[in-house]
């Protein structure tokens, strides 16, 4: 191990950010949007008075929350081709790329965590508001869409964003599928040039700066929301 070689970072910046970081951010974005969507549906199911809706949702959330994300990544990597075959009715497992597989994984995994946040958000809205909505002649979906969810989202924005920062960090685990996300790109160059020290410290620094800045933004947002209420 010789001296620090910062040149290796400079030479690979294009690859690291154009390929790696783009993948990481795309995956984070899609998984967050899908996760919040399915998470909200799961939360509504869990709060439903119909047992056949609340029981499966509860079971799903508890299952996802009790196994490690890495195991879920492996599960879906092998399950998604079979699910694909089942959906399309083909007799052979469908070939699914690592990207699709990781998007599905993170969306469904994060949905369980987002659903817990949304459940708390929905429960923070006084029940009388739902009754008021129903009394005004709105149906369940209208009440949810016009009255409950907008307020629930607003109350929960800081926590949803914090969870998204965690998601951003967790996407680094796609490393186990040999995908070129930001860490995967850094690791490939580190192995190729034998520059583990520089590349991993640089990767840590980049993750730190992004996550830290975002978390500071969330803190500010939290203060603003807290003042208005």
């Amino acid at each position: 191990m010789g001296e620090f070689d910062f040149g290796v970072i400079q030479r690979s910046l294009g690859y690291l950010f154009r390929e790696g970081m783009t993948f990481t951010l795309t995956l984070t974005g899609i998984a967050a949007a899908g996760g919040i969507f399915f998470g909200t549906l799961l939360a509504m199911m869990r709060l439903s008075s119909h047992k056949w809706l609340s029981l499966p949702a509860t079971a799903y959330v508890n299952l996802m929350r009790s196994i490690p994300l890495l195991l879920v990544i492996f599960w879906f990597y092998f399950l998604v081709p079979y699910i694909g075959a089942w959906v399309t009715g083909s007799s052979q497992p469908v070939k699914v790329g690592a990207f699709t597989s990781s998007v599905v994984t993170f969306m469904l995994f994060e949905a369980a965590y987002y659903s817990e946040i949304m459940r708390a958000g929905i429960q923070s809205i006084a029940r009388g508001q739902v009754w008021a909505g129903l009394a005004l002649g709105l149906n369940y979906w209208q009440t949810m869409k016009q009255i409950v969810l907008p307020q629930a989202f607003r109350n929960m924005v800081p926590i949803l964003l914090t969870q998204t920062i965690i998601l951003f960090q967790d996407t680094s685990l796609v490393y186990v599928l040999s995908i070129t996300d930001f860490l995967g790109a850094a690791s490939k160059i580190a192995q190729r040039d034998g520059r583990l020290v520089e590349m991993y410290i640089f990767a840590a620094l980049v993750y730190f700066i992004i996550s830290y800045l975002l978390s500071q933004l969330v803190k500010r947002l939290q203060l603003r929301i807290a003042i208005i209420r």
């Binding site: 196994i67 967790d170 690791s187 990767a203």
Partner: protein, 251 residues
């Protein structure tokens, strides 16, 4: 769809030729629990210390404590493990670095995994401990001072006993997180439960059997850990104050 189910696979000889696949998974579980236990001890001691420091009336100490938490919370665990595993031996003096690299197989990944997970989880414990202490009425600390206790005595006899009881529920979920997070150590070569299931899948192609077994084991371990923590919570609850066993009244 054609998939050959074979639940008997667990009793067949594994790739190492000495244990069945069932035993391979159990040994993986052993490493998962050992890693979580050792890292948990580091996390609890260091996290409590940093959490306390962050509530002390000493500005520079608070700042260092906050910096620690921000540093370890904002870097992905996987990257942290890589730094302990790949980077640290290179930065140490050559002889020490080499002796670390030459450790025997399980220890070469186990030690960095324990250090990495321990320091990572410590940041999360510190956050809980700080929140627990700050949840107490401010008057409690002042009352301690008024009674003539030193700062250390106030923490030891007044603040911490209550703060730790308050944060038992979040500490329970941190324990769960720690057990799940040990799976990340497979990236630095520790054959814990997820890695054992993965190797079983790679050698036998019995994907669903291997991962189902690992999933069931994780769920059982989780249930046991949750119930142990709940039991501990009830055991140490102060009657009439807080805790799940106490209904109504209290503070």
């Amino acid at each position: 769809m054609n998939y050959n189910w074979n639940w008997g696979i667990f009793w067949e000889m594994s790739a190492d030729g000495r244990h069945t696949w069932f035993m391979t998974l159990i040994m993986g579980l052993g490493w998962t629990l050992a890693t979580a236990f050792c890292a948990g001890i580091i996390a609890f001691i260091l996290g409590s210390f940093i959490g306390v420091v962050r509530t002390m009336p000493i500005k520079w100490a608070v700042r260092i404590g906050n910096a620690y938490v921000e540093l370890f919370r904002n870097i992905p665990l996987l990257v942290q493990l890589f730094i302990w595993f790949f980077v640290l031996p290179e930065l140490l003096p050559t002889s020490l670095g080499n002796s670390i690299k030459q450790m025997n197989p399980p220890w070469a990944s186990f030690v960095p995994a324990v250090i990495g997970l321990g320091l990572f989880t410590a940041a999360r414990v510190a956050e809980q401990v700080r929140a627990g202490i700050q949840a107490l009425a401010r008057g409690q600390g002042m009352a301690g001072t008024a009674l003539g206790l030193t700062l250390a005595q106030t923490y030891r006899s007044v603040l911490l006993p209550m703060a730790f009881r308050i944060i038992m529920p979040p500490l329970t979920s941190e324990t769960m997180n720690l057990i799940k997070n040990t799976s990340v150590a497979l990236t630095i070569g520790l054959i814990e439960l997820t890695a054992a299931a993965r190797s079983m899948q790679e050698f036998t192609f019995q994907v669903f059997e291997a991962f189902t077994a690992a999933t069931v084991i994780y769920i059982v371990v989780n249930l046991i850990a949750v119930n142990l923590m709940r039991w501990l919570e009830r055991r140490i609850a102060v009657p009439g104050f807080i805790g799940p066993a106490v209904g109504g009244g209290g503070h």
